[in-house]
Symmetry: C3
Subunit: 348 residues, 3 copies
Amino acid sequence: MQIKAKQIAQLINGSIVGDPEVVIHGPSKIEEAQKGTITFLANPKYKEYLYTTEASIVLVDKTLQTERQVTPTLIQVDNVYLALSTLMELFGSKISIHSGIALTSIVDISAKIGKHTHIDDYVIIKPDVTIGNNTKIYGHVFIGDKVTIGDDVILYPGVKIYHNCKIGNRCVIHANTVIGSDGFGFAKDENGNYKKIPQTGNVVIEDDVEIGSNTVIDRASIGSTVISQGVKLDNLIQVAHNVHIGNRTAIAAQTGIAGSTTIGEDCIIGGQVGIVGHIQIADGAMIQAQSGIGSSVRSPKSKLYGTPAIEYSNYLKSYAHFRNLPDIVHQLRSLEKKVNELENNKTE
Amino acid sequence: MQIKAKQIAQLINGSIVGDPEVVIHGPSKIEEAQKGTITFLANPKYKEYLYTTEASIVLVDKTLQTERQVTPTLIQVDNVYLALSTLMELFGSKISIHSGIALTSIVDISAKIGKHTHIDDYVIIKPDVTIGNNTKIYGHVFIGDKVTIGDDVILYPGVKIYHNCKIGNRCVIHANTVIGSDGFGFAKDENGNYKKIPQTGNVVIEDDVEIGSNTVIDRASIGSTVISQGVKLDNLIQVAHNVHIGNRTAIAAQTGIAGSTTIGEDCIIGGQVGIVGHIQIADGAMIQAQSGIGSSVRSPKSKLYGTPAIEYSNYLKSYAHFRNLPDIVHQLRSLEKKVNELENNKTE
Amino acid sequence: MQIKAKQIAQLINGSIVGDPEVVIHGPSKIEEAQKGTITFLANPKYKEYLYTTEASIVLVDKTLQTERQVTPTLIQVDNVYLALSTLMELFGSKISIHSGIALTSIVDISAKIGKHTHIDDYVIIKPDVTIGNNTKIYGHVFIGDKVTIGDDVILYPGVKIYHNCKIGNRCVIHANTVIGSDGFGFAKDENGNYKKIPQTGNVVIEDDVEIGSNTVIDRASIGSTVISQGVKLDNLIQVAHNVHIGNRTAIAAQTGIAGSTTIGEDCIIGGQVGIVGHIQIADGAMIQAQSGIGSSVRSPKSKLYGTPAIEYSNYLKSYAHFRNLPDIVHQLRSLEKKVNELENNKTE
């Protein structure tokens, strides 16, 4: 595949700085790029590479200022990542599984499978399952009784979906993720032994949700655990029973959300965050990685950090003093000494 | 299914406040409940719903005080969750897999399988495995050489159990959890390369243990990693080699326990806790989520928080001052100024 | 199997203290050891067991001093763990899967499989895969299009490897680990919805790498996520897209590394550590468990702790004062009082 800078600029609605006729054949990373490739500069930390890269074309933000001469042709765009996304589809090495149902899959006769849906080897589909059109189900996937799955969904190898759960349209779920296992609910009986509280609800995943690998979303004890439209979850995330996650909220890897908590829309939650149960997080919250959220977050667009989390910049200020505590305590000690001397002088 | 308040009260040993003849047909959540359903109030945070819910019956703690008139019939019980547990079994949508051994399962001829035990499609069972009665093994489960599994066990889809491990009676293990993988043991050789220390022990899981999804319990290097009777582990937990967890201890999601640590009985450990290796945790310890336990906990029923963890209320006190450090430092600065002035005055 | 102390000493290049003729038949743990077994003392915390153990032989470090008479024969070695590693291979209960390709495995006809390589039941191998010699692939493994796998590799049950990834020689990957799932890359479009950035790169795992269970290594967006020669990763670890991990670095369970970060050689990283994206960690860094690394670590062999992490011993000093903050604030308050009194005296 060969494509010119001017053709690319047209595709992604960009402006050209440099030679519009230069030709590239594929993508590359800015620090390793060779002639004949296109790369991008999204993070200003990498700006120096602009002057040394051998790439023929670089996608840049239209606000980027260059201080020196650059060799590659630049294509200026509104949003580098978005342009990149569009562009990468041109080069994406699509690994498609063929349409059809593998002979080795075990599909219950009561299951309804849509058109152009592919089911790969060793998939197990239980009674009363409904699956839409153009959906791809990779090998070793398990789909429990009465599950419904929409159109244009991709379930990667080893995904396990327990009974009664619902998956919307255009969802992507990566390998070995588990949807709908029992919530962690036990009550101590009179002898101090735990008795299981039956988890009779389900998980509802709305449209356009993507979920990473080895993540777990537990079924509700009653009702539904809900992952709303457009949510993006990374790998190894824990979502407990009866949690609700609002539209378009994105959560990074290894974060855990305890039972019955409701998270608003358009939140951005870092990795390894812990959120306690039975609280509400307002829309647009930004939570720094490794924070621990111990109580409801009432103000929209709050920015939080720490365990338990406080306002982001306040945490940084307090932490700067924390680092300085040995000095602070030393200063307190010399002050005490001075004051004692002053007192002694006074009483002399 | 239709059942009256007075019948329910009898089943769960509760006292009725309101109409004993009211009929319900299923469970609901208090904030979404409709007429003809039963719900519950366990967390006092939700008390306001008592006055607005449309549920016909609400399970409440017998100590709960109401300030105003309530519409639904109340059933007062000693322990709401325990009553709920009993009750939910009435409504539980049981998804049973049928008895028998699926034709597609690969069961070694040396394996001994008990009565009424079901083995689902694409299960692999290696030589010299022993499985008890009434056990259910879902699809894509792998059971290695010489594993023994008790009666009334449920292994959900994708569970992998390495050779020589032992699972007791009435255990439940959720999807894609791994039991018995090698402990993380390496020694550097003279060239600075890691050499693997063989992990020749196993994992022993006693009776009545429940384990969530995508959790990992490593085999001992020598001897056994032991999960004792009645332990409950949530999802995505790491249990390293040679760990012992005492009877009835419950551990929330994403917690990790390093090698050779012994945890007492009846401990309650929050999510995302980290516990270092080679220490002992006394019985009944309560460890707050995200804490880091760096040394042995000697006193039973210790309540801990922080990294490294200290006594729970002390952490909260110190953290309150941490939040206030900018003010504290400011006060220290003005005090220094005052003292300097006093000293200057003195020397004038 | 029966073996004498003098034979063992010869095997592991050790010196005998005690009876060289004593015979043992297997390994044991020092606190549970019985007559006729060999055990070891690596952690000085367990030294007391030396005087009470019933083991017939104990491996000890040659620098170990004994204060009293010991009953077992001691074998003194340079490195207990390394000697143990050599020795355990003698006793290791090898559970080998037989050579050959199981009838139930689905191996595409275009795949090239080496000599003496075993492929177990229900494995799926896609087109254009290349696998070396003497490799063992357990049940329920999925290997995507164009994957290459070296010689002497072990893939445990349920491992999923996405298309185009490369695995070197002598690698071990434990159960249900996922290699090559999509990196977490999305860009917001003009309507505030996330659009996926295609992840067209791969994962390259070099020789002699071992990876635990339920770990996830995401494919690069462009280029490769690289796990270099001799790296050891524990269970439940998150490695994001475009991360590079240097030779022989070891990382404990539940640690997460965000996108495009480069980690040096010979680092030792504790459990539950979080490392942000787009930074460099110098060679030989030691990072304490649960730390959060928020910026590049420039000095080799840095020792770090805290969130955000600072120099290890400084964190401990600051944390000691943190624990003491209630007292410190109390002292500040009494000092303020004294100073106010001094000021009042002055103005009187």
